[in-house]
Subunit: 336 residues, 6 copies
């Protein structure tokens, strides 16, 4: 079988788990990349209640769906973030937010990520996808001037907070796949290098390759795959479409998704500027055999239409390598 | 229902109206943008003979087709043109051409455009698409040197000739949608600005957005939509494909359509360089809800094949906006 | 005389005022855009002590230098910023920083900007250049999701804090020229539109056009000049050079200036990607007659060499428009 | 009927002729461009044994397939090559390789090409496609310095060796279509000009247009068609996809097909950078009416899937020209 | 001596001949390309009055200037133009305009071009530069539809009117160098081909290569030189700078020179988008040895500054080819 | 003192050593990169005759020139090449060519390279620049199909032949800087990687960075510098100018230097497409402090003019890094 094509459920958390299973199956997905919010997955129950975990898998199987990875971006985000504010309150489970005191939030988020690793193990999957948060993202403009020591401290803070979490990942045989993304410690090529260094290139910490934010930053997503080939733990297919007319900018003016004045926007997979075929071919070349997950987001398209179209698009392009090479045909008559 | 997709009948005037209705319906169009030539629409009869107008609509309805706009490019062209010559004789109705004396032709053309407004009203549609002609287009190269007063006079001539026509449009509740096009008073971004100024930005005068001539002039058709968003009265989807190899030029050497030495050519919608998806997304963003009409022209493809392919292409890309936004899914478990 | 070419002294504040006057004069500058830090200009003294102001001008005149604008970016930055932290402490005068309590810092910064207006008036110049700071810059990535109300509140905060400052500007006949820049309320095309709206397009608030941050954001600096032509109060020539190789990114990985892994960097005027000639020609076309100031910054070049080279570069390109038009020559023999 | 779409069997020589006929027919091809290796076509038997030739055509016809051309690249390669080495031994029939003494190999290859012409005639086809080989290809880098006399001698050698072969082509009414390709005497635009001159522009020597090697050499395949329009004897649709990231190079580092570090690679027709639609439109414009053959090669895709997809892709784009022009519709009511 | 660098005096006709000689000499020009208007050159006197011609040359020689070509664009324009109108009256000598009856104007213009050939002969120069005019330029937009017979007739009209003029050129040993330019019969690559065909490729009709209008039409001026290498009779260095921002268009909206909303404009040689170095290198490669003339026009720069800067720019780039080749150095020690 | 700027004497070997010293000094060079051919440097004498070596240095010093590296491309070329033919005879010293038997030539070339290392040591320089030759370059087109074992064998052959040579380099404290170049074992990015692996990344084998062949191969010369930063032993500034018009190709049709139909050509440093400023900035960033050598070659320019212009161009751009950073100026008043 070719690599499974899954649907990331993060943008569908308002749809109940079972209904989404039914729809995803009808659209043609092979499985789900299950988000740990909405009613899709309660990591505490999954980690502690074997029945809950088995129930989740059973429902998936009823719909012919597989599970290879779970995702907890929203909680991971809070582990290193500074400031912690209303934005986090809006996306965190109540027991993680608690009284909202920032350091307490960060610590509870770290604990929840450990629980997430245990939930993954209980579900029989070896990959947790997520965000790391960052104490220094807010200094990205580097003005007012930021001393190098401050930047150094940001990477150290990341390592200090995540190493204990990753220890739990190691202990349960699960690995963390960080999604390279603005607002995180690693958001581009060189910050990814530095983040990997900060945790000593330990195996527990790898990457969820999502090219959507590479495109507008001018980063080559296919070259990224090749260079970090030993750290590609998961693949998310989110697409970005750029429209630069001399007025719309790369930073998009604090405008909401779907506004015609943004320089770029998320679009249904295949409608944007990600060079998908190049990337799928490099994935083949580096021997990636994990799931290819559709992260669907498009403020300009109905999602029911989009999710169905996207799986077809990806299945068509994410073809397997052949087994034999061509040149062999040229010499087929050598026995003559 | 999404925005209707119509077929502009101008390039099909050799096919009888009823036969074209049948074909358009079979190809999957929602309606027609009816040309006022061939036997498709006789504006004098439509304006005066209620039975004729009702018959036209009845035939359309029999084939499940709607009507939202009519087009009279050929007559509009003669309102301001100078010179008036054989080219006009070849495309004008005999009663407008008359004896061919230029000023008489222009006056009769203006009267015919008033009649066209009345025909539209009689047919129950609120938009007439067309050309304006221009007294100064022939000076586009600006050599031999053209005094600014001559250019000014050209815009004034346009306003003087069209304002009385537009008064009739106003009186019958119909608006004129000028198609931005070489040979016309408004053929690019800044000439459109100036033409709108010349008629005092009156509501009766708006635009039929057709990107085919913007592409080779280097004008961004999506930005055009945004900037003139309050004047987009109609949309025509004609496509242009460029092939510049250092020899083929933008002005295309007086060569006929389909010649391989032209720098650009009209092609079936979706086969050219118009950034259709960007444009349809901007149309959504600015709230355009009118018809999207296929103006099909391709000297290199059979039109029967092309018309069927084009409606499918457009319908696939001109999708509606969704109702809810995405971020909401992230907070769905806040009640936990 | 053509438009004066000045040197912005902000990056030279470690060189004493008089020495810098001497050097700038030798390099060939016509004047200075005086920074309100280092020993270059003490706004409190300038505002209150007529002798100090006169002395400043006298020193300039001794070196044949003019003064058309003063700059107080560092204090302006603190007016709206959130968070206020060590970075501000490092750049603010001690009396503005005070005990560092954020809201107090912001209020003292606002007062200091009023003083800066008065200083400008005392020095006989009508323009103060600077930054505004921003309460919402830190949300530029828009993740975790930011409610539109938060963005709205950011622009309101800006207006609320700056309107009283601008009232003082009005009262002393000076105008504020905001430098469009990351970390500020207006940092690109559309955020500039919105910021101008937020203060009701009042005349006291205009722009210091500095293209260096437009280049890497994909914003056309020449089109920016044309569209905001009535708000171009001052011009700063800072240049940016991009080097995208698929790995170096637009956000530049929190790397310091001069690092080869950055996607872009500031360079000596004329060594980068700003289309200077286009911009100077548009400045002529829109009738800008103010100073053209070199903001020199290049982590890869010695500044003494650079400042001398830059003034020559700018003087060579920032030529004036001619008085007569060309076509006239063609008709010169009409009297024959 | 539109132009036939054929499959070049060179890369399928390991599949027995009859099985390949069956598959090609199922995939939707109109015919085959038969390779003279594997068991597909034995040129000696075809030239001498009328029953063999008739049997080949009979099998094709049973599967509804036509035959318009045969191909003998591998033998043609040896006619001029220097050095002759193991690479040739691996691809030549045993009776052509013989003892491997270079000059003997070249002479036997020339004889075999004469036989190929006779085989074509016996099969009733008028075109043989192939390579020429080259004595000077190895000097392409022009270092160590190569005297012009050496280059001249290479073209003379080509003419001297091929003219006698082409005489046989003339005598049996068949023409040779050289495939412009690295390793050959004509591999780009100007070397094609020179090769045509070398054989005096004789009609027996024309071109098999295959754009795959033009793309990475920076040669415009559509302009090539137009300029050599009287020499386009056959069309092969092989596609090339480029991926330049600053590290992968045009010469591709002696890396095998499918390696992610190559600058370009062959891909299934329609997956690469050949501007197919432009080329098919120029083919129409220059009046080419011969077969359009799919040369399928893609180290990253299963060939069974690819061959089926490619014929559909080509059939969709290689549409015929219409019969009437458009402007005629505008004047349809002139009889009114 | 390298090729002479001359100044075309057409845009300086308001400056008296002798004064212009003085200035051109001071700026560093080697000679003039003398315009036949203003007081620079009276072709009737030059053709008939040997003393006048000798006086012109004497004045040039006094200032160390040479003369290799004269230019009569303005009269040539009227030979084929239609319509003939106020624009022509503004630029023609009174005796050519006469009563302004179009056909009479055309005939007198043709006679004046014959006189121009005789004037050139009398001055001892072998090249007259100019325009042809065109009866069909006004149909460049090809709408309303233009029959091919009309286009054919335009080229025939050109040949009919110019052949008798060129007969006189032949008889006095002078050749005509048409400047490829909008408003003329030949204005791009393919119209130049057709115009050359129309006059049977007679030697009397060649080209003045001026790349300024090629740039915005997308025509490669260096390839143009190579392809028409046997017809390059003269070289004019006029430069064009493009500024496309999605709004400014290629046709430039009937806006005057220097307007910031034009898509392109003439600029001082070296300030635009003409690839001068490529072109000068191709001129060397094709063996062009005639004058290189600066046609200076820039609505945004003072012409006195510009003319001096331009000659320096051109002299710096229009270097000669060396005599020996490089590879020879590698073998210099072969006698060892 | 900034990094020295030297002239590579390889293309000047027909000019006697002393005369070239005089000229180079007058042009403004700081030293020479001495070629081991012509009469510039006899490596046998230099290795064995201390007086000869001292004399060479003395002559250089008399002209104020330094020596940091010597070059023996021509002999190095023969170490691995296959075939060995007339081209080698034309460029090798007679005692290396001998009877021309290929394996003998290769062995003598290897010995001569050992002698070259000893000559360098005798002259007190630590770097020898050169080529390696290659047994597999001729297979670059990879057709007829080349088995991977053949490619592997080519790299092994390189290591086997060069390791003994490099042992001598090590023993005398000199390193070899291979110039990445077509015809050599390492000619692009990935072949350089592989060549370094083949010799076990030993320190004796590094690179002479010459970007001229990277440009037309699509390789980023600045990224190349960064990635191989620990192997940049020397810098050669040779420039390449590309002119692709759809006909001129990357492989340049076996055409001689200076032919207008080539796709690229060598040009005087600064006249081509190498991004020199980016490269010099990266050289600063990676801490390169060795000589920057002008390798001058331009078939279209007189070399006497060119050499003088090139040193000025390079000196102007290869500026040093400053000592202090900019941000410091912002905090200069912190003591207030």
């Amino acid at each position: 079988m070719p690599r499974p094509i899954t649907l990331f459920t993060g943008q569908w958390a308002d749809i109940p788990f079972e209904e989404l299973c039914r729809r995803a199956s009808e659209w043609g997905y092979d499985g789900l990349e299950l988000a740990c919010w909405g009613d899709h997955l309660d990591v505490r129950r999954a980690a502690e209640d074997a029945g809950y975990a088995a129930g989740r898998r059973a429902t998936l199987e009823e719909h012919g769906l597989g599970l290879w990875a779970i995702s907890n971006h929203l909680v991971g985000q809070a582990v290193c973030d500074d400031p912690i504010d209303q934005r986090h309150k809006d996306i965190l489970p109540g027991h993680v937010w608690g009284d909202g005191e920032p350091e307490g939030v960060r610590r509870r988020a770290a604990e929840e990520m450990k629980t997430t690793a245990r939930a993954a193990a209980a579900l029989g999957v070896d990959t947790v996808i997520g965000f790391t948060g960052s104490a220094i993202w807010k200094y990205v403009a580097m003005f007012p001037p930021v001393p190098e020591t401050t930047i150094d401290a940001g990477y150290t803070d990341f390592a200090d907070r995540w190493n204990p979490v990753l220890d739990v990942f190691d202990s349960v045989g699960v690995r963390f796949a960080h999604e390279v993304h603005p607002s995180e410690i690693a958001y581009d090529y060189w910050s990814t290098h530095r983040a990997l260094e900060a945790v000593g290139h330990r195996d527990a910490f790898g990457l969820n390759w999502d090219p959507s934010h590479m495109v507008w930053q001018g980063i080559d997503p296919a070259a990224f795959l090749y260079d970090f080939r030993d750290r590609i733990y998961h693949v998310d297919c989110k697409d970005t479409r750029q429209r630069f007319d001399g007025r719309n900018g790369r930073l998009s003016s604090h405008l909401p998704w779907g506004d015609a004045r943004r320089g770029w926007d998320f679009v249904s997979t295949g409608h944007g500027d990600v060079p998908w075929e190049d990337c799928f071919r490099v994935l083949n070349a580096i021997g990636y055999t994990g799931p290819i997950s559709v992260e669907w987001e498009d403020a300009g398209m109905d999602r029911l239409r989009g999710a169905a179209e996207a799986v077809e698009y990806v299945r068509n392009l994410a073809f397997d390598k052949p087994e034999a090479s061509f040149d062999s045909a040229f010499s087929s008559d050598r026995e003559n």
